[in-house]
């Protein structure tokens, strides 16, 4: 269950990869839609934590066109509901996330993203 709210927080952390290391691009995904309890107050509170253009691009890459290019200043209930759906209800169960900077592939299997790196790739 990599939801887009989680994906929006994940960046490539390979040593020296600092350019285009976010957002990671999805490919070969198995997408599952699961209804989630709606809490629009939470969604609103989450707005400042989001990278909006990363979210819009990622949603579009998965075939969801419901989000506007620019983050609205004033949100309608309908827009918040659409955002709730994109953030909380789209689950990537299987697939890959690829760094656009260095090409590193992070696989997702059984809903768990594998973000581990081999020792020589680690930047710490």
């Amino acid at each position: 269950m990599v939801r887009l709210i989680t994906h929006n927080m994940l960046a490539c952390h390979v040593k020296n990869c600092t350019k285009d290391n976010f957002p990671l691009s999805f490919s070969d995904v198995e997408l599952v839609v699961r209804p989630a309890p709606e809490n629009l107050e939470f969604i609103q509170r989450f707005l400042p934590k989001l990278d909006w253009s990363a979210l819009v691009d990622t949603a579009r890459s998965l075939g969801d066109e419901s989000l506007p290019e620019q983050m609205p200043d004033q949100w309608t209930e309908e827009q918040l509901k659409a955002l709730h759906h994109v953030l909380m209800e789209l689950h990537v169960e299987e697939g890959n996330m690829t760094c656009r900077g260095c090409g590193h592939v992070y696989p997702i299997s059984n809903g768990i993203p594998n973000m581990l790196l081999a020792e020589h790739e680690v930047g710490r």
Binding site: T6, A11, F22, K49, D51, I112, N114, L116, R124
Partner: protein
């Protein structure tokens, strides 16, 4: 004033799971008790992003999610052990909440995006003092041994996060950290205060041979 919350259901976990994943023990329970003790404080801040490092069985992440309200906060749970990530997902399901396990070392893939965004961070770390070889081996094997081996003073893994902490917390953010006396909690407190954070031992108890405590580390002063 503390609030009483039910302990998460972990009856679905088997002996086989516990061959690879840390079975909740006194150190897990003291962390639950610390969160419960601070429940009103935590809820009062309306946490938006909560993170647990080293979720193991998922018992603490589940408790935290229930404490803050399962659909009022994003709870991210990391672990270097893939079995732990799988079990965390199952524990979430068994308790009708949703968790977001991420297989990684500490906060590696999250730290750049979580800069000043973490409201609640919890960590029951591998805190047992061991030799450096045991630490490196277990961190490399990423299995059950990684649950306790902590290297010098049991602090090698924890120290990495304590160094990052000032960059992670929101203004009202808080970290809850499990320690044993061998970790030298007083030194941790001094060290965090030197970084401009406030650090307080909020609960302390003896469990068998271990003298456990939970430290609350925050930017703001609390009672």
């Amino acid at each position: 004033m503390s609030i009483s919350l039910p302990t998460p259901n972990i009856a679905h976990l088997t002996e086989e799971d516990y061959e690879h994943v840390y079975e909740p023990a006194e150190d897990s329970f003291i962390l639950l008790d610390a969160l419960e003790l601070d429940a009103q404080l935590i809820r009062g801040d309306k946490p938006t992003i909560c993170v647990e490092i080293g979720s193991g069985s998922g018992i603490v992440s589940t408790f935290l999610s229930q404490l803050v309200g399962p659909s009022s906060s994003l709870v991210l749970s990391t672990d270097i052990n893939r079995y732990a990530c799988e079990v965390t997902l199952r524990t979430a399901k068994a308790n009708q909440i949703s968790l977001n396990p991420i297989l990684c070392h500490l906060l590696d893939p999250l730290s750049s995006r979580l800069r000043n965004k973490v409201d609640i961070l919890v960590f029951n770390p591998p805190y047992v003092p061991t030799g450096m070889t045991e630490l490196l081996d277990t961190q490399h094997q990423k299995d059950i041994g990684g649950a306790w081996a902590g290297g010098q003073d049991g602090m090698i893994v924890t120290d990495i996060i304590l160094d990052q902490l000032p960059d992670l917390l929101t203004p009202s953010g808080k970290m809850y950290l499990v320690t044993v006396v061998q970790n030298k909690p007083l030194e941790i407190i001094r060290k965090m205060e030197a970084k401009g954070l406030i650090c307080k031992e909020i609960i302390k108890r003896r469990a068998g041979r271990e003298l456990l405590s939970v430290l609350r580390i925050s930017r703001e002063l609390h009672q």
